[in-house]
């Protein structure tokens, strides 16, 4: 119902612009909204991921989504689902739940044992990838699930239902930050100190893991499993090179994420390569997600050059 309303609103917006311009195309408008929403959440939690050394963890979560998809496909097949849209409705909750369970298990095992967290994450990572690989042939059957769009995503394939989910994701992220940002960051420096300041350290950690699993899984249509971690980590690392305090770091990360999102979306629309070997020179579109990531990596290197003088001032 909400998504039907959004469809209507977007097409009304499209009609305000001349035919075949950027804002006249409903998929471009949806894609732009999607990168804005994804940029907002990734930017908002990016500094937390980096500050808490969770880059590998979030990467593992993204890859575990692969096993989540495989599990979802398996369940949907066993349940006898054939219709593609219905299929996705089935897979999504299974994926999200799987991601949350794996994330919490990693945290739990790390707490219970003395193993280095890299090791624990690595083991779960391997298990999930193995499980996904077993079912690869099943999953990769195009009529069920497009594995390519899962790996790399594409903003212009985002549906209105996706957008609504992303909108609620932004809300959830906002609530988490409002209630737990201070506590979570403090606990990452020293749990004993945080406990002595009345912080519920475990609750913060587990809540953040759940949020991260939601972010990773719900952003897959927009940026894909292989690229989502770049959006979580690279802009925050760039901002850390440029900023002089944590307040600046937060807003600078959000700003960078939004900027590379919009720029990637715009560039993938305005640049087309022509494949000369194909009949009548078929146009090839560039992947929006890939442009965003490459752009943010370029900005990172730039920040390494200008950062020191900026921070010294």
């Amino acid at each position: 119902m909400l998504s039907a309303w959004l469809d209507g609103a977007i097409s009304a917006f499209n009609d305000l612009f001349p035919p075949n311009t950027f804002f006249n195309l409903d998929f471009q408008v949806r894609g732009t909204l999607a990168v804005l929403l994804v940029g907002l959440v990734c930017g908002a939690v990016g500094s937390l991921v980096v500050g808490n050394r969770m880059a590998f963890f979030s990467d593992a979560l993204a890859h575990c989504a692969f096993a989540g998809v495989a599990l979802g496909v398996l369940v949907a097949l066993l349940a006898g689902i054939r219709d593609r849209d219905e299929f996705y409705e089935w897979i999504l909750p299974i994926m999200v739940a799987f991601g949350i369970v794996v994330g919490l298990l990693i945290a739990y095992v790390r707490e219970m044992t003395n193993l280095a967290s890299d090791t624990v994450i690595g083991v779960f990572f391997a298990g999930a990838m193995g499980f996904g690989a077993i079912l690869l042939k099943v999953v990769a059957r195009k009529q069920y699930y497009n594995i390519e769009s899962f790996l790399f995503g594409d903003p212009i394939t985002v549906s209105s239902a996706d957008l609504i989910r992303l909108f609620f994701l932004v809300l959830a992220t906002g609530v988490f930050l409002a209630l737990m940002y201070n506590d979570f960051v403090l606990a990452s420096f020293n749990p004993s100190l945080a406990l002595s300041r009345k912080v519920r350290v475990r609750l913060c950690n587990f809540t953040f893991i759940v949020l991260l699993a939601l972010i990773v899984n719900l952003s897959l249509h927009t940026v894909g499993a292989l690229l989502i971690n770049a959006m979580l980590v690279v802009p925050a690392a760039t901002a850390a090179n440029l900023c002089r305090n944590m307040r600046q770091l937060f807003w600078c990360t959000v700003g960078l994420c939004l900027f590379v999102g919009i720029a990637g979306q715009w560039l993938s629309w305005s640049i087309t390569l022509v494949d000369a070997t194909a009949n009548r020179g078929q146009a090839l579109n560039l992947g929006g997600g890939g442009i965003m990531v490459v752009l943010s990596v370029l900005l990172f290197f730039l920040s390494m050059i200008v950062g020191p003088s900026l921070r010294k001032r």
């Binding site: 050394r53 044992t113 201070n182 420096f189 004993s192 100190l193 002595s196 002089r244 770091l249």
Partner: protein, 250 residues
């Protein structure tokens, strides 16, 4: 003046399947500085972590503060950790650190208001630091300065008990001495009870009222520093040839 603020009875802590604290009995007397000494790995940090209820334990820890509390709160216990684990390159300033701990229902990224900043300046003044420190990056502080910032934080809002875990480890002698003088001064002026993990027996001798020696998770001996720090007691706690006067590095 010498009623206990905290009584610890038959405290057992197991971590990773092995016993770290094995029946600790101790009392922290109100208004006194108690020094906790012992080898690395003897369980000193674990005892502090049990006091802030970070690790599960068997036995009893009773705070006689007149408040009912299951979790430690900043009103009762101020904890000065040994170090902070700040990711390299994270632009954390002193004001950020204080803000993260002190601002309630106000996420730090919304900014630090003028009144909060003034309060932070007052906190720093308590530990003899000027307001120019607020905008310094935490990673650029010297060991002694960081310990004083952490102490300033622990002192808000005037807890009855301060826990300090080797506050002077890695600080040069002069700054360590200044830090201990600050602690002794706070103890005299405000009557705050202090539990101090320290390796420096000279410091213990000068500033502590009471000494607890921990060996293999038990209190092996305790008493006033003049009695405790005889050659004999040191040998029993640290083993022979330890030469632990002055500085000890992990």
């Amino acid at each position: 003046m010498t009623t206990p603020l905290v009584s610890i009875r038959d405290l057992h802590v197991e971590l990773g399947g092995r016993s770290v604290l094995d029946g600790v009995d101790a009392e922290l007397k109100r208004g006194q500085i108690t020094a906790l000494i012992g080898w690395n790995g003897s369980g000193k940090t674990t005892l502090l972590r049990a006091l802030v209820k970070e690790v599960p334990y068997r036995g009893r820890i009773e705070f006689h503060c007149g408040h009912d509390h299951r979790r430690p709160t900043p009103e009762h216990v101020g904890y000065v950790p040994q170090k902070l684990r700040v990711e390299a390159n994270l632009p954390l300033t002193v004001a950020d650190l204080l803000g993260l701990a002190l601002l309630r229902w106000w996420p730090l990224f919304l900014g630090i208001g003028r009144r909060a900043r003034q309060r932070m300046e007052q906190l720093l003044a308590r530990v003899w630091l000027g307001s120019e420190f607020l905008d310094r990056p935490v990673e650029k502080l010297s060991g002694g300065e960081l310990q004083r910032v952490l102490l300033a934080l622990a002192l808000e809002p005037h807890p009855e008990l301060l826990l300090l875990d080797e506050p002077a480890a890695g600080i040069d002698f002069q700054h360590a001495e200044k830090f201990y003088e600050l602690l002794a001064d706070l103890n005299r002026r405000t009557g705050v009870t202090i539990l101090l993990v320290s390796h420096e027996l000279s410091v213990v001798n000068r500033h502590a009222h009471h000494v607890l020696c921990l060996t293999d998770g038990r209190v092996q001996c305790q008493g006033p520093p003049q009695e405790m720090l005889t050659q004999d007691a040191i040998l029993r706690t640290f083993g022979s040839g330890s030469g632990l006067y002055g500085h000890h590095h992990d």
